[in-house]
């Protein structure tokens, strides 16, 4: 019989062992505090997870995706299950085929792995499927079924289980995997980048603690009607974007617009509105679900939706509330002038001058040149020039001087 003898050195009992001192040092190193800090990526992720849409995080390895998921799980009060895809076999996700006594009669059951059984038992949780892109194609195929159909073998994951997957961008992925268009269309693609400031401060002992957005119960109906109005209004004017398969090789594996992803965009827009997140967070989500081109167009459409309605400006010119930003203000004024043009009455024409004169008080005069010129051209012969136009003399002088200097340049060419 073999016996193993272990010799234990005689150490004085009151002296701590070398390892205990090392443990003390390690625990000191691990002590860190947190500070509140707004984090757009994390806000976008939490909105997408709350909306129960499958998320795919694209990020280089080692930039703290796992740490972020840990925090997200804690704040959503969900237990976190992390599964590293690349160390598994396809059967770990599609179920292990177990050959029984009489397979012809009883069939071959697909036994689920233990983590899935425990997740189903718990009834709720955050499932994080990491390193999707370094797994073999067969494992990826099995995993996508977990994400999209929420099935692991014969088990069905309960609705309170939220799933997030992570992949390395194909530039750094070992085998250059990319998603087929139907799969890419089902995910919210979020790009995960590290913030230099966060990393440096975190290593210094202070990690950020993001305040996750919470949904405002009062705003739910309003959020839904806003989202419906925005998406339907946008797709009415841009029907080409309803379905646009990615054509170029560069767009492969990315988000692209289709009725399915527009529905997801509408869901995200409603969630983002109810949670009052910033436009930047919304932009990450929308671009992540319908792609950059269509996403930016939708966001530009949202900007235009927020411009004041030309008719209400004309109806009550003294109460006009114009956007502060120059380009938006000019767009609002131009829309008002073209509303006058479409139905020119003297009363509307004069109301427009009042709005212009008011706008001059709070904005740069050159913004008003185009709308004022266009409005002046709409004058009927019997309409008297309103008094307010005198306030616009600065605009006239700018126009004249600018035309003069352009002419000079033209002559000297």
């Amino acid at each position: 019989m073999n016996s193993i003898s272990v010799s234990i050195p005689d150490l004085p009992t009151d002296e701590p062992t070398p390892l205990a001192i090392a443990d003390d040092l390690l625990s000191l190193l691990k002590t860190s505090t947190t500070e509140p800090r707004s984090d757009e990526q994390l806000e976008a992720l939490s909105i997408a997870v709350a909306a129960d849409l499958p998320v795919l995080l694209w990020g280089e390895p080692g930039i703290g995706k796992t740490a972020v998921l840990t925090q997200l799980a804690a704040s959503l009060e969900l237990p976190l299950t992390t599964v590293i895809a690349s160390v598994h076999e396809p059967s770990d996700f599609s179920g292990l085929p177990i050959v029984g006594d009489d397979p012809e009669q009883r069939g071959v059951p697909m036994a689920p792995p233990r983590w899935a059984v425990e997740l189903v038992k718990a009834g709720r949780g955050l499932l994080f499927l990491d390193e999707l892109s370094t797994a073999t194609p067969a494992v990826q195929a099995a995993l996508l079924r977990v994400v999209l159909e929420r099935r692991v073998g014969a088990l069905r994951l309960p609705p309170d289980v939220r799933i997030v997957a992570a992949a390395n961008p194909r530039a750094s992925a070992a085998d250059g995997w990319d998603l087929t268009p139907p799969l890419a269309n089902r995910f919210v693609h979020l790009h995960w980048a590290h913030d230099q400031e966060v990393v440096v401060r975190g290593l210094g002992g202070v990690w950020p603690r993001a305040e996750l957005p919470s949904l405002d119960r009062e705003r739910l109906p309003e959020a839904v009607s806003f989202a419906r109005r925005a998406i339907c209004g946008f797709l009415t004017v841009r029907p080409k974007l309803i379905h646009q398969l990615p054509g170029a090789e560069t767009q492969r594996g990315r988000a692209w617009p289709s009725p399915r992803s527009w529905e997801a965009a509408m869901t995200l827009l409603a969630f983002a509105t109810a949670a009052r997140v910033s436009r930047d967070v919304l932009a990450l989500l929308i671009r992540g679900v319908v792609g950059d081109g269509a996403g930016i167009e939708l966001l530009a459409h949202l900007d235009r939706m927020e411009l004041p309605d030309p008719e209400s400006l004309l109806a009550d010119p003294t109460a006009a509330h114009l956007p502060v930003r120059g380009d938006l203000r000019r767009a609002a004024l131009e829309a008002m002038v073209s509303a006058v043009q479409s139905r020119p009455t003297r009363q509307r024409w004069e109301a427009a001058w009042v709005v212009l004169a008011q706008a001059l008080e709070t904005s740069a005069a050159d913004l008003l040149v185009t709308p004022a010129t266009a409005l002046a051209e709409l004058r009927h012969e019997d309409w008297e020039v309103p008094d307010t136009i005198e306030q616009l003399s600065e605009v006239v002088s700018i126009t004249q001087r600018a035309s003069q200097s352009v002419r000079t340049m033209g002559a000297s060419r």
């Binding site: 076999e89 396809p90 059967s91 292990l96 085929p97 177990i98 050959v99 029984g100 036994a111 073999t136 194609p137 067969a138 194909r170 530039a171 085998d175 250059g176 995997w177 990319d178 230099q196 170029a248 090789e249 560069t250 492969r252 910033s278 436009r279 930047d280 919304l282 932009a283 950059d292 081109g293 930016i296 167009e297 966001l299 530009a300 900007d303 502060v324 930003r325 120059g326 380009d327 203000r329 000019r330 740069a364 005069a365 050159d366 913004l367 040149v369 600065e394 002088s397 700018i398 126009t399 001087r401 600018a402 035309s403 200097s405 352009v406 000079t408 340049m409 033209g410 000297s412 060419r413």
Partner: protein, 454 residues
């Protein structure tokens, strides 16, 4: 004690000549109407600390009243356009990415970035209603060619000699991503958020794309690419070849066709085994006169590297050189062994036929061509990747009897456009592609590429 703190009158006594500044902006809008949205989105901040005019990355425009006083209106208009160009072309973001990639920081580096950004802008914005200022920084000061990108100017020249003379140069953090003491920062008033900045740039691009006749070529190219950033073709070609190889036959994958060695431990469970099937790839190369030696060299190096990466062994990649008739297929063992024979016109169809008739039949055909070729009418029974060398598209001239537009590659092929130099405005890793390949071409074996062509 006094109720009010004593005020120091160190500053000048007069205020900013707003009317002149705005007249200049109006001038700029009149001669560059497609930039109107961007120009009006700028928020003016009066500041004596700024040498001239500067922008921050939040689209605020800092203006020195003294500078406005001493500069003629039409020159001020040029400055407006210059500053807004920094923002539209995302010089701050690109500069930060460049600095992060090259690990270079500091005031000298900031100035270098500003100079390179000015080079990119100044070579094409002046003229046509905007006078070029006498002290404008242009690439010819350094003997550099015009029309390059900021990153290329940074790569090409040290710029430090120039920087000594240009210490006054200051376009703000909008030009180079470094915040200045006078700037209001991200939390200040009237700044644009990232989304709003994208929206403005998008509207400007949309305006140019909508009426392309009104904008010059440089701006049209910008508008087409600003939100469709090209990716490095190496990655694309690699991904295309790998994915073609991966689905045809497979390189390394789990398979239930063979039981796993682990299965012995769990008798009732069926486990898959990792199997490895090296792919058989055939590269058809267009050796017609229109494809340059350099391009061929680069593409060959890439394909050889990709096939090694996907686990190909000796002889699993073969090469067919093809002009009007296909040459012999030779197994590719080392890059140096490749001999290309050809010149003249192209018909890739013979190359495809030749590839299909070779034994063993390839699972993937990679065609490298400039696209001036007829394509097979039907899909060959294998995955097809086309590496297309980028050619400038000639203007359509229907009166010209020799005008000829090549057919686009067929839809069943995955197409990757290969360009020597990445001309992109937003790319994460701006660099001149093919440097390594050029080095390889200097090696003895590679001269074969050039020697065997007529």
């Amino acid at each position: 004690m006094t109720d009010t703190p004593p005020t120091l009158h160190t500053g000048p006594t007069h205020r900013l000549d707003t009317a002149k500044l705005l007249t200049a902006r109006m001038h700029a809008v009149k001669v560059r109407p497609y930039l109107a949205d961007a120009l009006f989105a700028l928020h003016v901040v009066e500041d004596w600390a700024v040498p001239t005019m500067a922008v921050d990355m939040h689209w605020r425009c800092y203006v020195s009243p003294g500078f406005v006083d001493r500069t003629p209106v039409e020159e001020l208009a040029g400055v407006w356009v210059h500053e807004v160009c920094h923002l539209l072309r995302d010089h701050h973001g690109r500069s930060q990415r460049y600095a992060a990639e090259h690990g270079e920081h500091g005031p000298g580096e900031r100035l270098r970035h500003n100079i390179a950004a000015d080079f990119e802008i100044n070579d094409d914005i002046y003229g046509d209603g905007l006078p070029q200022p006498t002290d404008a920084i242009v690439p010819s000061l350094m003997g550099l060619p015009e029309g390059l990108l900021m990153e290329q100017y940074l790569n090409r020249a040290s710029l430090s000699d120039l920087a000594r003379d240009l210490a006054w140069l200051e376009c703000g953090s909008g030009a180079d991503g470094h915040q200045r003491p006078w700037e209001l920062g991200p939390d200040g008033a009237n700044g644009l958020t990232r989304q709003q900045r994208d929206a403005v740039r998008f509207r400007v691009a949309e305006g140019i794309n909508g009426r392309p006749g009104t904008a010059p070529d440089g701006w049209r190219r910008w508008a087409q690419r600003v939100f469709h950033q090209p990716q490095p073709w190496r990655h694309l070609l690699g991904a295309a070849v790998r994915s073609a190889v991966g689905t045809a036959g497979g390189s390394q994958n789990h398979s239930y066709r063979r039981p796993s060695r682990r299965a012995a431990g769990v008798p009732k469970v069926v486990l898959p085994r990792l199997v490895r099937q090296p792919p058989k790839v055939c590269v058809v190369i267009d050796t017609s006169g229109s494809v340059s030696d350099t391009e061929l060299g680069i593409a060959l190096v890439e394909v050889a590297a990709i096939s090694r990466a996907v686990g190909g062994r000796r002889g699993s990649v073969s090469v067919i050189s093809c002009d009007a008739a296909a040459g012999v297929a030779a197994p590719l063992c080392q890059e140096e062994d490749i001999e290309l024979i050809g010149g003249g016109g192209t018909d890739l169809r013979s190359g495809f036929a030749r590839a299909m008739s070779s034994r063993p039949r390839p699972e993937v055909v990679v065609a490298l061509t400039d696209g001036h070729t007829p394509w097979p009418a039907t899909q060959p029974p294998c995955k097809t990747v086309v590496g297309l060398f980028r050619r400038p598209v000639p203007a359509v001239d229907e009166d010209n009897p020799h005008y000829y537009q090549p057919d686009p590659p067929p839809p069943w092929a995955r197409v990757v456009t290969i360009g020597l130099v990445l001309r992109t405005l937003q790319h994460r890793q701006p660099r001149v592609i093919g440097v390594e390949a050029f080095d390889m071409l200097q090696q003895p074996g590679f001269s074969g590429v050039a020697q065997h062509r007529r």
